[in-house]
Assembly symmetry: C2
Homo-oligomer: 138 residues x 2
DNA sequence: ATGCGTAATATACAACAGGGAATAACGAAA
DNA sequence: TTTCGTTATTCCCTGTTGTATATTACGCAT
Protein backbone atom coordinates (compact mmCIF):
# COMPACT_ATOMS: atom_id res chain seq x y z
CA UNK A 1 0.00 0.00 0.00
CA UNK A 2 1.66 3.10 -1.30
CA UNK A 3 5.03 1.54 -0.57
CA UNK A 4 6.60 1.51 -3.99
CA UNK A 5 5.44 4.82 -5.30
CA UNK A 6 7.02 5.92 -8.54
CA UNK A 7 8.36 8.80 -6.49
CA UNK A 8 10.58 6.74 -4.26
CA UNK A 9 14.02 6.27 -5.74
CA UNK A 10 14.53 2.65 -4.92
CA UNK A 11 15.92 0.86 -7.97
CA UNK A 12 16.20 -2.09 -5.63
CA UNK A 13 16.77 -4.82 -8.17
CA UNK A 14 17.41 -5.36 -11.83
CA UNK A 15 19.30 -2.92 -13.99
CA UNK A 16 22.02 -0.80 -12.46
CA UNK A 17 21.02 2.39 -14.22
CA UNK A 18 17.83 3.90 -15.49
CA UNK A 19 16.12 7.13 -16.30
CA UNK A 20 13.70 8.78 -13.92
CA UNK A 21 11.45 11.75 -14.38
CA UNK A 22 8.87 13.71 -12.52
CA UNK A 23 6.36 16.33 -13.54
CA UNK A 24 4.27 19.01 -11.92
CA UNK A 25 1.68 21.53 -12.90
CA UNK A 26 2.70 24.86 -11.44
CA UNK A 27 0.37 27.53 -10.12
CA UNK A 28 0.84 31.00 -8.71
CA UNK A 29 2.31 29.71 -5.45
CA UNK A 30 4.51 26.98 -6.89
CA UNK A 31 3.35 23.40 -7.18
CA UNK A 32 -0.29 23.11 -8.06
CA UNK A 33 -0.57 19.44 -8.94
CA UNK A 34 1.90 16.58 -8.88
CA UNK A 35 1.81 12.83 -8.54
CA UNK A 36 1.23 12.78 -4.78
CA UNK A 37 -1.51 15.38 -4.96
CA UNK A 38 -3.17 13.52 -7.80
CA UNK A 39 -3.27 10.33 -5.78
CA UNK A 40 -4.69 12.28 -2.86
CA UNK A 41 -7.48 13.67 -5.03
CA UNK A 42 -8.36 10.19 -6.19
CA UNK A 43 -8.47 8.91 -2.65
CA UNK A 44 -10.73 11.79 -1.67
CA UNK A 45 -13.07 10.91 -4.50
CA UNK A 46 -12.93 7.27 -3.43
CA UNK A 47 -13.51 7.81 0.29
CA UNK A 48 -15.45 11.06 0.37
CA UNK A 49 -13.30 12.30 3.23
CA UNK A 50 -9.91 13.93 3.67
CA UNK A 51 -9.32 11.98 6.86
CA UNK A 52 -9.93 8.62 5.24
CA UNK A 53 -8.04 9.59 2.12
CA UNK A 54 -5.02 10.58 4.18
CA UNK A 55 -5.14 7.39 6.22
CA UNK A 56 -5.42 5.28 3.08
CA UNK A 57 -2.08 6.61 1.87
CA UNK A 58 -0.35 6.76 5.23
CA UNK A 59 -0.31 10.53 5.20
CA UNK A 60 -1.11 12.78 8.14
CA UNK A 61 -4.42 14.63 7.97
CA UNK A 62 -2.50 17.83 8.52
CA UNK A 63 -0.40 17.31 5.43
CA UNK A 64 -3.36 16.20 3.33
CA UNK A 65 -5.36 19.22 4.34
CA UNK A 66 -2.46 21.53 3.51
CA UNK A 67 -2.18 20.02 0.04
CA UNK A 68 -5.90 20.34 -0.62
CA UNK A 69 -5.83 23.90 0.65
CA UNK A 70 -2.87 24.71 -1.58
CA UNK A 71 -4.63 23.33 -4.63
CA UNK A 72 -7.87 25.14 -3.89
CA UNK A 73 -6.05 28.41 -3.34
CA UNK A 74 -4.45 28.19 -6.76
CA UNK A 75 -7.50 27.99 -8.98
CA UNK A 76 -10.68 29.99 -9.22
CA UNK A 77 -12.92 26.96 -8.80
CA UNK A 78 -11.83 24.69 -5.95
CA UNK A 79 -10.87 21.13 -6.80
CA UNK A 80 -12.25 19.82 -3.53
CA UNK A 81 -15.38 20.89 -1.72
CA UNK A 82 -15.67 20.06 1.93
CA UNK A 83 -18.45 20.21 4.48
CA UNK A 84 -18.08 20.20 8.24
CA UNK A 85 -20.70 18.63 10.46
CA UNK A 86 -23.85 16.90 9.31
CA UNK A 87 -24.38 13.29 8.36
CA UNK A 88 -21.22 11.36 9.02
CA UNK A 89 -19.56 14.44 10.42
CA UNK A 90 -19.09 16.02 7.05
CA UNK A 91 -16.81 15.07 4.24
CA UNK A 92 -15.09 16.14 1.08
CA UNK A 93 -15.79 15.57 -2.58
CA UNK A 94 -14.07 16.18 -5.87
CA UNK A 95 -15.59 18.97 -7.94
CA UNK A 96 -15.93 19.07 -11.70
CA UNK A 97 -12.81 21.22 -11.82
CA UNK A 98 -11.08 18.58 -9.74
CA UNK A 99 -12.02 15.86 -12.19
CA UNK A 100 -10.77 17.93 -15.09
CA UNK A 101 -7.47 18.75 -13.42
CA UNK A 102 -6.98 15.11 -12.54
CA UNK A 103 -7.68 13.99 -16.08
CA UNK A 104 -5.25 16.54 -17.46
CA UNK A 105 -2.53 15.48 -15.04
CA UNK A 106 -2.83 11.79 -15.82
CA UNK A 107 -2.58 12.49 -19.53
CA UNK A 108 0.50 14.58 -18.89
CA UNK A 109 1.81 11.78 -16.69
CA UNK A 110 1.19 9.12 -19.32
CA UNK A 111 3.05 11.22 -21.85
CA UNK A 112 5.98 11.40 -19.47
CA UNK A 113 6.11 7.63 -19.13
CA UNK A 114 6.09 7.35 -22.88
CA UNK A 115 8.85 9.94 -23.09
CA UNK A 116 10.98 8.11 -20.56
CA UNK A 117 10.54 4.79 -22.31
CA UNK A 118 11.60 6.39 -25.58
CA UNK A 119 14.65 7.99 -23.95
CA UNK A 120 15.63 4.72 -22.32
CA UNK A 121 15.76 3.17 -25.76
CA UNK A 122 17.86 6.02 -27.10
CA UNK A 123 20.36 6.25 -24.24
CA UNK A 124 20.27 2.73 -22.87
CA UNK A 125 23.48 1.53 -24.46
CA UNK A 126 25.51 4.65 -23.81
CA UNK A 127 24.25 4.65 -20.25
CA UNK A 128 25.29 1.07 -19.66
CA UNK A 129 28.72 1.95 -21.01
CA UNK A 130 29.13 4.59 -18.34
CA UNK A 131 27.82 2.87 -15.28
CA UNK A 132 29.25 -0.57 -16.02
CA UNK A 133 32.11 -0.05 -18.40
CA UNK A 134 33.44 -3.58 -18.70
CA UNK A 135 34.83 -3.87 -22.20
CA UNK A 136 35.04 -0.24 -23.22
CA UNK A 137 37.99 1.08 -25.18
CA UNK A 138 39.23 4.08 -23.19
CA UNK B 1 24.66 33.55 -10.18
CA UNK B 2 22.81 30.31 -9.73
CA UNK B 3 19.89 32.23 -8.31
CA UNK B 4 17.12 31.24 -10.68
CA UNK B 5 17.92 27.60 -11.24
CA UNK B 6 15.38 25.66 -13.26
CA UNK B 7 14.98 23.64 -10.09
CA UNK B 8 13.54 26.40 -7.98
CA UNK B 9 9.79 26.58 -8.28
CA UNK B 10 9.40 30.30 -8.51
CA UNK B 11 6.91 31.11 -11.28
CA UNK B 12 7.24 34.66 -10.03
CA UNK B 13 5.77 36.52 -12.97
CA UNK B 14 3.85 35.94 -16.14
CA UNK B 15 1.43 33.08 -16.64
CA UNK B 16 -0.43 31.68 -13.68
CA UNK B 17 0.06 28.04 -14.61
CA UNK B 18 2.68 26.04 -16.39
CA UNK B 19 4.21 22.63 -16.69
CA UNK B 20 7.40 21.68 -14.90
CA UNK B 21 9.51 18.58 -15.15
CA UNK B 22 12.68 17.15 -13.77
CA UNK B 23 14.81 14.20 -14.71
CA UNK B 24 17.48 12.04 -13.16
CA UNK B 25 19.71 9.19 -14.14
CA UNK B 26 19.47 6.54 -11.47
CA UNK B 27 22.24 4.27 -10.28
CA UNK B 28 22.49 1.43 -7.82
CA UNK B 29 22.18 3.74 -4.82
CA UNK B 30 19.47 6.03 -6.15
CA UNK B 31 20.23 9.27 -7.92
CA UNK B 32 23.33 9.06 -10.05
CA UNK B 33 23.08 12.27 -12.04
CA UNK B 34 20.63 15.15 -12.01
CA UNK B 35 20.64 18.82 -12.88
CA UNK B 36 22.46 19.98 -9.77
CA UNK B 37 25.12 17.31 -10.05
CA UNK B 38 25.60 18.09 -13.72
CA UNK B 39 26.21 21.74 -12.92
CA UNK B 40 28.65 20.69 -10.23
CA UNK B 41 30.59 18.56 -12.69
CA UNK B 42 30.83 21.47 -15.08
CA UNK B 43 32.08 23.75 -12.35
CA UNK B 44 34.71 21.19 -11.40
CA UNK B 45 35.87 21.04 -14.99
CA UNK B 46 35.92 24.82 -15.09
CA UNK B 47 37.78 25.39 -11.81
CA UNK B 48 39.79 22.20 -11.45
CA UNK B 49 38.85 22.00 -7.79
CA UNK B 50 35.93 20.79 -5.73
CA UNK B 51 36.41 23.63 -3.29
CA UNK B 52 36.20 26.31 -5.94
CA UNK B 53 33.40 24.55 -7.77
CA UNK B 54 31.36 24.41 -4.58
CA UNK B 55 32.01 28.07 -3.79
CA UNK B 56 31.06 29.10 -7.31
CA UNK B 57 27.59 27.68 -6.82
CA UNK B 58 27.17 28.67 -3.18
CA UNK B 59 27.31 25.07 -2.04
CA UNK B 60 29.20 23.77 0.96
CA UNK B 61 32.33 21.75 0.23
CA UNK B 62 30.95 18.92 2.30
CA UNK B 63 27.83 18.65 0.17
CA UNK B 64 29.79 18.93 -3.07
CA UNK B 65 32.20 16.23 -1.99
CA UNK B 66 29.32 13.93 -1.00
CA UNK B 67 27.75 14.36 -4.42
CA UNK B 68 31.02 13.64 -6.22
CA UNK B 69 31.59 10.64 -4.00
CA UNK B 70 28.09 9.36 -4.69
CA UNK B 71 28.61 9.65 -8.43
CA UNK B 72 31.98 7.97 -8.34
CA UNK B 73 30.65 5.14 -6.23
CA UNK B 74 27.96 4.39 -8.78
CA UNK B 75 30.03 3.74 -11.87
CA UNK B 76 33.04 1.58 -12.57
CA UNK B 77 35.11 4.47 -13.89
CA UNK B 78 34.96 7.54 -11.67
CA UNK B 79 33.56 10.73 -13.19
CA UNK B 80 35.91 12.89 -11.16
CA UNK B 81 39.53 12.24 -10.31
CA UNK B 82 41.05 14.12 -7.45
CA UNK B 83 44.55 14.58 -6.11
CA UNK B 84 45.51 15.72 -2.66
CA UNK B 85 48.70 17.68 -2.10
CA UNK B 86 51.11 18.77 -4.76
CA UNK B 87 51.15 21.88 -6.90
CA UNK B 88 48.35 24.14 -5.83
CA UNK B 89 47.45 21.76 -3.03
CA UNK B 90 45.85 19.27 -5.34
CA UNK B 91 42.64 19.50 -7.30
CA UNK B 92 39.99 17.61 -9.18
CA UNK B 93 39.34 17.02 -12.83
CA UNK B 94 36.61 15.55 -14.97
CA UNK B 95 37.46 12.19 -16.49
CA UNK B 96 36.48 10.95 -19.93
CA UNK B 97 33.66 9.02 -18.30
CA UNK B 98 32.61 12.27 -16.65
CA UNK B 99 32.48 14.06 -19.97
CA UNK B 100 30.43 11.27 -21.48
CA UNK B 101 27.98 11.18 -18.61
CA UNK B 102 27.59 14.94 -18.77
CA UNK B 103 26.98 14.89 -22.48
CA UNK B 104 24.37 12.17 -22.09
CA UNK B 105 22.61 14.06 -19.34
CA UNK B 106 22.40 17.32 -21.27
CA UNK B 107 20.95 15.53 -24.26
CA UNK B 108 18.40 13.92 -22.00
CA UNK B 109 17.76 17.31 -20.46
CA UNK B 110 17.29 19.00 -23.83
CA UNK B 111 14.80 16.32 -24.81
CA UNK B 112 12.87 17.04 -21.63
CA UNK B 113 12.65 20.74 -22.44
CA UNK B 114 11.37 19.84 -25.87
CA UNK B 115 8.87 17.47 -24.33
CA UNK B 116 7.63 20.11 -21.91
CA UNK B 117 7.24 22.70 -24.65
CA UNK B 118 5.22 20.24 -26.68
CA UNK B 119 3.02 19.38 -23.71
CA UNK B 120 2.46 23.05 -22.93
CA UNK B 121 1.08 23.46 -26.42
CA UNK B 122 -1.20 20.47 -26.01
CA UNK B 123 -2.56 21.27 -22.56
CA UNK B 124 -2.19 25.04 -22.45
CA UNK B 125 -5.83 25.88 -23.11
CA UNK B 126 -7.32 23.22 -20.87
CA UNK B 127 -4.91 24.24 -18.16
CA UNK B 128 -5.88 27.89 -18.35
CA UNK B 129 -9.51 26.83 -18.10
CA UNK B 130 -8.85 25.14 -14.78
CA UNK B 131 -6.65 27.65 -13.03
CA UNK B 132 -8.44 30.78 -14.27
CA UNK B 133 -11.95 29.70 -15.22
CA UNK B 134 -13.45 33.06 -16.16
CA UNK B 135 -16.02 32.31 -18.84
CA UNK B 136 -16.58 28.61 -18.33
CA UNK B 137 -20.04 27.05 -18.47
CA UNK B 138 -20.34 24.87 -15.41
C1' DA C 1 62.03 21.27 6.73
C1' DT C 2 58.45 24.62 6.00
C1' DG C 3 54.65 26.66 3.54
C1' DC C 4 50.73 26.37 0.79
C1' DG C 5 46.12 25.18 -0.92
C1' DT C 6 43.54 21.41 -1.65
C1' DA C 7 41.25 16.80 -0.50
C1' DA C 8 39.10 14.17 3.02
C1' DT C 9 36.65 13.65 7.24
C1' DA C 10 34.20 14.52 11.72
C1' DT C 11 31.34 17.32 14.69
C1' DA C 12 28.12 20.80 15.80
C1' DC C 13 24.48 23.80 14.38
C1' DA C 14 20.34 25.75 11.72
C1' DA C 15 16.39 25.32 8.74
C1' DC C 16 12.64 23.03 7.11
C1' DA C 17 9.23 19.50 6.13
C1' DG C 18 6.24 16.53 7.90
C1' DG C 19 4.05 13.59 11.77
C1' DG C 20 1.32 13.28 16.02
C1' DA C 21 -1.74 14.85 19.10
C1' DA C 22 -4.89 18.06 21.06
C1' DT C 23 -8.83 21.15 20.49
C1' DA C 24 -12.79 23.70 18.73
C1' DA C 25 -16.47 24.20 15.32
C1' DC C 26 -19.92 22.18 12.80
C1' DG C 27 -24.51 20.16 11.57
C1' DA C 28 -27.46 16.14 10.69
C1' DA C 29 -29.51 12.36 13.21
C1' DA C 30 -31.18 10.11 17.21
C1' DT D 1 -30.16 18.20 23.71
C1' DT D 2 -26.81 14.84 23.05
C1' DT D 3 -24.04 12.08 20.02
C1' DC D 4 -20.94 11.44 16.33
C1' DG D 5 -17.27 11.80 12.83
C1' DT D 6 -15.31 15.06 10.12
C1' DT D 7 -13.22 19.61 8.99
C1' DA D 8 -10.18 23.16 10.48
C1' DT D 9 -6.43 24.82 13.30
C1' DT D 10 -2.73 24.92 16.59
C1' DC D 11 1.45 23.39 19.09
C1' DC D 12 5.29 20.36 19.79
C1' DC D 13 8.48 16.79 18.40
C1' DT D 14 11.45 14.47 15.15
C1' DG D 15 14.09 13.25 11.12
C1' DT D 16 16.44 14.89 7.30
C1' DT D 17 19.22 17.94 4.74
C1' DG D 18 22.57 21.16 4.22
C1' DT D 19 25.82 24.80 6.30
C1' DA D 20 29.68 26.11 9.11
C1' DT D 21 33.75 24.96 11.21
C1' DA D 22 37.75 22.51 12.60
C1' DT D 23 41.24 19.07 11.85
C1' DT D 24 44.22 15.96 9.43
C1' DA D 25 46.59 14.19 5.23
C1' DC D 26 48.87 15.12 1.25
C1' DG D 27 52.65 16.33 -1.97
C1' DC D 28 54.93 19.82 -4.76
C1' DA D 29 57.65 24.14 -4.37
C1' DT D 30 60.60 27.05 -1.98
Amino acid sequence: MAKDHPLKKTTKGGAAAGLRGRIWIDGKEGTFLGYGRAILLERIREHGSITKAAKSMEMSYRHAWQLVDSMNRQCSRPLVESATGGKGGGGARLTEAGEKALMLFWEFYADLQEFLTREEKVFGDTLAGITAQTGGRG
